[in-house]
Point group: D2
Chain length 406, copies 4
């Protein structure tokens, strides 16, 4: 990761990328912000993805941003820079950033498989990364089964030596435009223990159905629909097989962190957009009153803490992510502990900022066409992003504190 | 006001009405809750009023609840009981409660005109109250002009000795089904100072247009549309004329309090509904974790403070409202000071409760069909209800504290 | 309980007593406030009780305020009025209010024993209540054993048919001036199960030592010292024996509520005193700035919610306390559930008010001689008052919600 | 500034110094922590400085840490590292850190004078820096006049061409052991405008009196006493003369930031110490309950945001402090805007952390000998540290936002 930081203060406040590839990604994205802003409200209303925007991003190579240069991508490998890029998109539309996160974070984790995985994994990763670089492959990764914790998605052995995949996934953002799916499932081989796994499918795979419209409180343009899997045939080489189910391996916390940590930028971007909209609106109104001045000050202070905390967390994640010399379990724990502490604060600070913005703008913010009403709905998704929910985070963080931390 | 309170503890916690008429109103309402609950989601989605529900309420005499018995109404004259009734409706659907508030609070203020006003006001009030009692008159009162503070709605003298009304009003809840409108305006007579006024129009009045659908972040079934007034002819006897514009008269704070204070029940009802939904859902889930137990405790404590504070405020408002022996300006200031302090806390506590409910329920609450996602949007309207916004309340309350309070 | 309430609004905001005896108590106390205010700082510094004040209260009959008229006391039997009286003392000095609480709440619970207890309990209660009325008996009640939950204070059978009491109690407020002690202990009779008990001792009882100075963060003049009990002889008739240890009896929650609920007034009084000091100081300073106006508004709103919530809780406690017709276990649970929800909010709101006061006053409030610096320390005791601590309250309230509440 | 950072993640979380000189300073300090911890409680109680500790720090060269190597000091020039050093001292005793801050921040600003000032300033700075390096000079800088904003300390022309200094300063931390004083004053020359100035005095200067004990709510061992100045003779060369009074020069915001920003470490250190004490105590207690787990999680998350925000702010301050190529006014505004936003969040987060610690530890934390009771008092000083108070910060930050920020 080539580091480039003209202005260290800007980097500390999450205002500048840290790698040339990150800079290039931001420059590519900049050409799309106006369109995203223009289309955001209508798609939010209709709960549809900004398909035209993604077509444009595809043409510009943005969908291959995190694919290694050797495989034809932009080679963005800094989590900090990916998070910053998602923040800048989220300032225009958080739903679009959430959908884009799918593709970019998949690039990051597939690159890890390609560099460090076993033969099957390397090959499979390369078969996905190359078309991602060209924009041919748009990869939706699904993690969540319906029903609150039960595993319903399973890989069972097929007669031809491959697998059969059945089950259902929810909240599969970007699925409406995806060409490929990476589906987490429990592999139940004929012999040996059940194992964690992820199967790759193309959209044409028999038995795969992408359901209609996602209808959420917010993030309505993210295309977070369900995927139904009805005896889909999967070739043996199209499965990433991991360790036995139920076996705790803290080293895997590193990959989980990489998959999700860049989403922190999305909620930071919503808060920044809310602040900007509010300050600009207030400037047109004339002398602000006492409460407005006080709340704007609180908005500024919280936004500063939010941005610096996220910047520090992502910079540290980049460091750990490139540092393989120590104990992998300890490395995994550190990455997740940082991530979860930051996530918890993001989910305190970002909604507070948005809320204060509505308060100072007043009734005008309560009209559906006012951007603040969208921010108010979108920002609340932060608490539910993977992993963990607040109740699970309390269990995780308090256990960590009492067990491990200094 | 005949007081009836079988269980003082229940009254203190805002769980029982304080008058027999209030009891009767609650009993009438109880027959409609299931229908309101059943229809709430769809109408929220479509931004349409629950018209069938209002037809039912009309048949049952609910729309005349606050009309004096002598004029054919139920004679509910307790602000506490009206607020409690609106809370119970809001537990099923806050939008419907907001629309109903229009009719019930108008009954209260017209009754005041009928009992204490001058000849013109008494006559006009009676002409409205009698058909309200029978359900023939559904009266939408509009207060707010567009454009942030400027007055745009004016009564100018007509050649026939009456008036001509022109301008525009926003957020006129219940307008889609209203038969009559009471429109606040600035009367600009040929001679003498400009005066505050309120003009009465029927829906058939030439020049009156009720605009289409209100499209808000929440409270979407409240029918809070705009009213356009284009040279509407108004008879001289159809106008309530008040004091000169710009002349401060703190006695009028009493009427403003009566008009709006019962809305506190709406936001209390949303918080209660969120808590009930959440506790019932959690009971089905098995042993709650640490964060869930902690947040449920905070929900219960806040809800208790919310209900007892609202109960005390409304009981005091009833007392002041029936107590005319002292200085009217002082009485007005006390009513508004209590109301605004309570309103500010309602707008802290109710959204915190709803927010905690989403946090413990998790991602399921983020689906549009989950009631919590509606509560999250609806409860945010509390900060914008008339009078005052938070910035205005800070000016009002801090001035009051430094000028008058002990 | 003869109810008297000239101004219902004042009662709802915890500004007026509800019984004539309560009115009389407040009038008696009023003569002592100046002295308490004058002496508070020095005694706080030295961690000594305001002994002269208590001598004066004794002369005026205040120490017998809650003793029935038939036994020579003032006959204050309203928890609301006792709480209001403690609030008014706490506005001058919270430590003195905490010490006085000992005597007044003991009067309430002994009166209950005297009216409803068995023969031994009635006789013992009367032997304490009569000298309390005259001011001869100053009764310190001790509940807490050292060491976090273990029982270390025990009554074992003596050869003469009485008991021997050994152990240690902490946080025995008012002990330095007490003439009598009521010490909770585990009675371990020769036969039958261990039982909860409370033993009465005079200060002259052999083996009883009152330790020196209590040195706390705050509440430093409350005399909350330790009591050491080294084989103290106790007559059989000087023990209140209750049910078997470990047997859950929710009816006892009523007595626990009565013992402690009036302490809510102490923290309300601190918050009120902080607000008054602050508003008066700000009035002398000239035009307040934006933050000051905003925080003063928040102070006023929180204080209003605090006072109305406490008023409602105490009024309900009075109602339940005089209402014996239902299920005693259910009555106990209701009293405690109300009390604990109110206590939790008192411990959120009162410290927030005091904290905001320091913020607007600035550095001047940080000098030890400034009353706000004492309020800041004293108000923090609220979270630790009996029963429960915050962690225990979360367990209690969440269990109650999931088990019993609607 | 030679940068050294073995572990970037640790630097981002404010756990490692960034320069070798900073490392050396931390190593020197480490030898004193045990003594500071051992003596903190008693000196807090007596409101006396830890004089023996300062003697030890003097011997070790710590008092010359921020003096350039060329002048005999350690040459610590990183604000980040000074702040980190003060944090580590504050974890043992915040008062001692506050006193030490006086000497270390004076070294930083005198070094700036020595490198960039005019002839008089350079010479005067060197005359102070050399004995600071050797530990002979202990320099107390005083900024604050009594009386809320009025200037009472003045330099008037003396007959000998020098000056006469009269007035009074408050909150002069470390004064009890100071050998020299740098006193801000208004210079009122015979001709020309009044100017901002700072006069240097030795302790032996006639007319200078250091008053007795400072008696504060907290920070009681910081020696923050008053200085009385009664016609003290000052040589012409012993005065730093700055620009005309009342002339706004945003470039000076840089120096003001340098003087005070490292104090952020003090309040971060208190929060860290409270967290560590609490977690260690809880580990000994067995399985934590629901509220404890939830609050410990909140403590960890807030502490993480606090540390990363402070780290980012100090790192940026170091960057700006070494970067002189741009507009000095813009540079000053950036430094102060960052500092004040961070300070506001420090003053939200640190007291919340300490407060949560008391809540989970319970009544034991309320005893004066428990460290948490000291942290609770000390941490509240953060809101009052120079510049600005909260009300002033709201004015400053909201003005900045509406005037300058993006």
């Amino acid at each position: 990761m080539a580091v480039h930081s003209s202005d260290p203060a800007a980097v500390r406040e999450f205002r500048e990328p840290v790698t040339p590839a990150g800079r290039a990604l931001l420059d590519l994205l900049a050409g799309h912000f106006q369109q995203i802003r223009d289309e955001a409200e209508e798609h939010d209303r209709n709960s549809t993805m900004l398909v035209d925007v993604f077509t444009g991003l595809q043409k510009d190579g943005v969908l291959g941003a995190t694919v290694p240069v050797e495989l034809g991508g932009l080679g963005v490998d800094s989590l900090y820079d990916v998070c910053l890029a998602l923040m800048s998109v989220a300032e225009a539309d958080a739903s679009t950033a959430l959908a884009l996160h799918m593709q970019l974070s998949r690039g990051l984790t597939l690159t890890h498989e390609w560099r460090h995985g076993g033969d099957t994994a390397r090959s499979l990763a390369e078969r996905l990364l190359r078309p991602m670089a060209s924009g041919e492959a748009v990869v939706c990764t699904t993690v969540k089964d319906p029903g609150g914790g039960r595993v319903v998605t399973r890989l069972t052995p097929a007669e031809d030596g491959g697998w059969v995949l059945s089950g259902r996934k929810i909240l599969a953002s970007m699925a409406p435009i995806a060409t490929h799916f990476v589906v987490s499932a429990r592999a139940e081989p004929a012999e040996g223990p059940h194992r964690s796994a992820a199967a790759m499918l193309t959209r044409q795979t028999p038995g795969l159905t992408v359901t209609d419209r996602w209808d959420g409180l917010g993030m309505r343009s993210s295309g977070s629909v369900d995927i139904v899997l009805d005896e889909c045939p999967i070739a043996a080489g199209d499965v990433f097989l991991r360790g036995p189910v139920g076996e705790r391996d803290d080293a895997t916390l590193a990959g989980q962190t990489v998959s999700s940590i860049t989403m922190l930028g999305i909620y930071t971007g919503i808060a920044q957009a809310a602040r900007d909209f509010t300050v600009h609106a207030l400037r047109r109104r004339g002398t602000p009153g006492a409460a407005t001045r006080t709340l704007v000050t609180e908005i500024e202070a919280r936004l500063y803490a939010l941005r610096t905390t996220v910047a520090a967390t992502l910079a540290s994640a980049d460091y750990y992510n490139s540092e393989f010399t120590g104990d992998p379990a300890e490395r995994g724990r550190r990455m997740m502990f940082d991530f979860q502490r930051a996530k918890l604060m993001v989910n305190h600070l970002a909604p507070e900022i948005v809320n204060n913005c509505l308060t100072v703008i007043g009734g005008a913010s309560y009209v559906a066409s006012n951007p603040l009403s969208r921010y108010y709905r979108d920002v609340r998704a932060g608490a539910f992003m993977h992993p963990f929910t607040y109740p699970d985070a309390v269990d995780y963080l308090s256990d960590t504190t009492f067990d491990h931390a200094g």
